[in-house]
Assembly symmetry: C2
Homo-oligomer: 504 residues x 2
Amino acid sequence: MSETDQKTEWNETDEQAPLNAPMEEQEYDFGQAEEKLLALQQEIRQQKIPVVIVLEGWSAAGKGTMAGELLEGLDARGYNVCVNEHFGKEEVGYPDFHRYWTRMPAKGEITLFIGSWYDKLCSDLVKGKGKRELERIKLMENMLACDGVVILKFFIDISQKEQKRRLKEMEEKKRTCTLVSKEDWRQNKEYDQWEKVYIHARQETDAPGREWHLLPGNDKRACKKALYETVTAAFEEALAKSKAGDRSWDVPQLSDHEPLETERMQHLQMFDPAQALEEDYKSALNAAQKRLKKLQYEVYREGIPVVIAFEGWDAAGKGGAIRRLTNALDVRGYEVEPIAAPTAEEKAHHHLWRFWTKLPKQGEIRIFDRTWYGRVMVERIEGFCTEPQWQRAYEEMNLFEKELHDAGTVICKFWLQIDNEEQLRRFEARQNTPDKQWKITDEDWRNREKWPQYEAAVDEMLQKTHTAFAPWTVVEADNKQYARIKVLTTVADAMEKALEHKKK
Amino acid sequence: MSETDQKTEWNETDEQAPLNAPMEEQEYDFGQAEEKLLALQQEIRQQKIPVVIVLEGWSAAGKGTMAGELLEGLDARGYNVCVNEHFGKEEVGYPDFHRYWTRMPAKGEITLFIGSWYDKLCSDLVKGKGKRELERIKLMENMLACDGVVILKFFIDISQKEQKRRLKEMEEKKRTCTLVSKEDWRQNKEYDQWEKVYIHARQETDAPGREWHLLPGNDKRACKKALYETVTAAFEEALAKSKAGDRSWDVPQLSDHEPLETERMQHLQMFDPAQALEEDYKSALNAAQKRLKKLQYEVYREGIPVVIAFEGWDAAGKGGAIRRLTNALDVRGYEVEPIAAPTAEEKAHHHLWRFWTKLPKQGEIRIFDRTWYGRVMVERIEGFCTEPQWQRAYEEMNLFEKELHDAGTVICKFWLQIDNEEQLRRFEARQNTPDKQWKITDEDWRNREKWPQYEAAVDEMLQKTHTAFAPWTVVEADNKQYARIKVLTTVADAMEKALEHKKK
């Protein structure tokens, strides 16, 4: 990082904001409040309650200072701080909420966002834009709240006069003068307009379990007192609910919005998995791979991220299809993400968290060998999640894919379909070939017994998550060669379409 | 990432290298070789053997192509690919081996490095530099090998004539012409000089458990065959050793080098933990915190990373000292890393891996609440590691800190020393205060019984890891106020010294 970059990154004006302190020190025992919060935090940890704290406010309102005050009452072994203005180069090329989703707290942890997704929203709203962003924010918070995350949002309020005074004072001091930007002065001049926007944003995103709390920024002690009282009360409430086994947040449907539109999809049973390849396999494969190789470079050059998601019956040929795909690609431009049962850390987060952490950047290809759809298949059928969890997951996954799509990502989703009898033949072949025995486990045999339940779940998944922006392709896979060519061709077509669209 | 950046990042010439193929297809059954490797990889996983594969070679030698060929015989559920030329902005500001250490494989995993730490080494050697880097590389590989990592290094060799032919052919084709750089042609012109450097680098870094293997780059099939045969043989050997319980790699001392010099350090028993603070605490604290706040900005501006490491007896006051330190700092410029028992993922790596992943970037302050020294204290005493492991850890930690120091990092290491009786008083006070009970556990009482063992271990640690570049400060901590002022002052002094040094 060059020095100039550093300076521009850490360029927040409330840095040295000279806060007033009309409240008397004796009025409130901060030491005691801190001790109490520390003790409550331990319980939050034991009860595995995830907490998001958002600190927002006017320029020079004292966000940094208040964050520091709050951390005095928290044990570092349980929180993470995320500074919005620090996001830099490492986030370039990802969908814009990637930075937030990947930093959401695990169960029992606290993430403190100093500045947040509201920063960009409010700048946009001031310019008369941001309507869609407002919806996206509501939905992100909604998904977290449904997952049991306690969301506390604070806005530090100061008057136009006070803001002006602070900016001036900062400009006059040698140490802080470089911290005041044109944008800060612009906000001060257009205070009324910003105030409307802030009020609007807070009103629109104030909902049970994710309320806004206004803090009096003019008075440092009163501000800290209100902050501590609110956090303490919220922790106590969450703990009481948790101890009472109250899971009222775990609902089957996301509120706040019209479900995303899905496309018509043929029922799974209607596909005939036995299809013949009508061309010569070797030359068809060769042609498809050549085409893909060329497209990979173009996609790279154009900075298009590509997500290729594979689902299918055990032994349907996912591995073989993926291998034919990767053979065509330059290793330096793709990654295969094998998705197994979630680790302890992954389980402690929202079910989509681990996929947010595995997304491709612009120009990269990410191949998922099994995907987020495990939620509505194995996790549903084996009871690894609650019924409301998998029921709302369809919509969550549509929204997740919509975020990727809107960030320019090409999304191909494959279901590899084979006949029940064909699966048996393949299982037996694996069992009888020494070098292939590792491919077959007892679990595969157990899953096979639940074929009808899986079939129903897969069909429901296809019906509910086949969208224009992230369509499913059912691949008839009794004939492996046919299946591979279909996969490769589908991916190439999707890339080509995205490239054409981009060039327009 | 801007488009221009992307292009320059993926600018390796061996991309489309037109490889010859004089070996006949029928001579070797690649399909069978791939199946066999796939099966061996499963065993490598079960036996939890970590593997590093390095692919190096001349420009246009076909590293990318060979990597692709190798991956055909590997299951994606067990390897990661790391492309040296792709490292970009996310690594700027870290010590230069950070990118490699953080990507080392967990037990049972394979990391394939396409290009590696040898790239920069060899460019430096050609310029007559790089002697120190050569030593650092030997030591990094040595540490990994001592940890049981199987290191396979391949160099793809092509003749000057063949390289010239390929570069020309690439320049003539529209799709590949932009991939040939001036550096590639320069290497071709100075082929003899580069060849000497390559041979020298390989000779110097060829050691048992981390041998170099030369691959014939002129012949694609022969190259792939040699690659498969070598990897297969190495896997078989490692598996045989592992199954026989052979842990001959786990040695108490790193070879290859003179141990780093340590400074004289007074024995732990000689410190009197009862010290009186001779100034007024409140004003001394206030002054130290003001000084630190100012220094934090300077350190940030100058891009100096700061590591502050806390160790000490249970209840010695680490938490309180850290809180007084962080109170002085802007929350947006520091992070506290609480170090607990390693997670499963951390345990599966080299013991320093988790600390490499937590380092500060330029200008950041990272505070470690317990540290890498757990290896030679709790892990040693509780038997969580083998004797050779903790014995060689002193030197490993000195080398780790040397890497940080050489990258400009300020390092402060604190041992908070209290009297045995004082600890008892504090334990009892915690037990008797409701809001503080969470601070005391049965484990604390158990550790207390092992005071003499810990005392000896701590003293050995101080003696063996007190260096000029990363000195220990023993903090007499019976008096909490004295201890806090000493910590804050020591950190401020160290920062100041680094700033003065930088400005020279």
